[in-house]
Subunit: 219 residues, 2 copies
DNA sequence: ATATGTATAAATGTATACAATTATACACGG
DNA sequence: CCGTGTATAATTGTATACATTTATACATAT
């Protein structure tokens, strides 16, 4: 089963199905049969069942008792809603991060910004992918730095959820460049211990992402 | 197994364990053994396992592979964080609800407010309980009315999460009275299609709850 | 031709059996 | 007395078997 080598069989199956949904192998309303998937991955039904049950609580799969497990659709509205929610919570997160961030975390953020700019310059085809990865990491570190496992978990969940739809959304080079600049501004505000500004910038950052989505007719 | 008569064995076990955690039968760091619980409820390990896995994603249980399932603690800080998050999201919810609410939902809210006041007057011992239930219902209807399954799910999750801690927090009669008044104000703003006001009132409503928690030395 | 009913197949739900991992008890050597 | 090592028990992880529910196919009746 490729390189899903961590943890138990169940969690490997979980990740595998998850990826297959995100990558589009399984699409909305597809039925996920325990036996079929089990045979495909060379495991019994048990770990597959557990994986499906967990995917349900993640919102990726919807289980109808005694019938089956189906891939849940994620609508454009869902994505829009998530960004609207994030546009308030990212600010809260930045504010808290300002109060709780450690030196190591600040360094890590510096490093991520640096790498982002590096990948940006390369202009390659996969650079967009790399920049997106860096964007994800930047926010993840910020989530951790908030010192709130509740807020962190919430925002990470949203991120995972949106990831599925994001494959269809192309980020323009201009937007990517601005995004990195915004990250730098947020980071600066946090360094300066200006919680108010950090909050405002982080919220605006997400609003800009929304505008970018709109620009591509995403709603 | 009492009255958990819906759905499958798994979901009944899920709800049962969930209640037992909320009611305090299982406490923080308690180990939940599959065999023990299974025998207690007269079912095999399989449904118990599934229940535990789902409880993990709900955040009530933490599973360490090959070791066991443990009741997750919910700290005072967690509760504080949730209210801080809610104090931004409830506003967003009220705003959206203003735009999407149906007549039936408005009626339902009227009814809930009415019942709240009824229970309030009774002054009984269980009235506090009833008022709390009504509070929960009021917010739940508002969540639905937002027309966003994402926001709704998020807020409901928070509510469930906090529920555990709330059993320890006593709501003063004065606060309960004010809370109902605030509900009425929010409802009025929504009826008047004043989204801005509804948002502000809903956010303040949660801030008042936080103040009330502080007053009882909750942090 | 459509609808209904029944038999069969296939899927999920649950229980049990076995494997792998971890905890516990106790002996032994320092 | 303390630490280490090993045997045993207990617990979780996975596979399989059985039960129940749902889907499919086909025959029959209207």
């Amino acid at each position: 089963m490729e390189d899903y080598q961590d943890h138990s069989l169940s969690s490997r199956v979980f990740q595998k199905i998850r990826d297959d949904i995100i990558k589009g192998k399984y699409q909305e309303h597809d039925e996920l049969r325990e036996n079929t998937i089990g045979k495909e991955l060379g495991v019994s039904r048990t770990p597959v069942r557990e994986a499906l049950r967990q995917l349900e609580l993640e919102g990726l799969v919807s289980i109808i008792p005694n019938k089956g497990a189906y891939v849940t659709g994620i609508s454009a509205k869902d994505v829009k809603d998530i960004y609207a929610i994030r546009s308030t919570l990212e600010g809260l997160c930045a504010r808290w991060a300002t109060e709780n961030i450690t030196e190591e975390q600040l360094d890590k953020l510096d490093e991520i910004v640096l790498l982002s700019e590096f990948h940006m310059k390369k202009e390659g085809k996969s650079n967009a992918e790399q920049v997106a990865v860096m964007d994800g990491r930047f926010h993840t570190v910020l989530y951790e730095a908030s010192g709130s496992r509740i807020l962190s978990r919430t925002l990470i969940d949203f991120h995972k959820y949106v990831q599925r739809a994001r494959k269809s959304s192309v980020v323009s080079e201009e937007r990517a460049r601005k995004s990195i600049r915004e990250h730098k501004q947020i980071l600066r505000a946090i360094r300066d211990k200006d919680a108010e500004l950090a909050e405002q910038l982080a919220n605006e950052h997400i609003l800009h992402v929304i505008q970018n989505l709109r620009r591509q007719g995403f709603e």
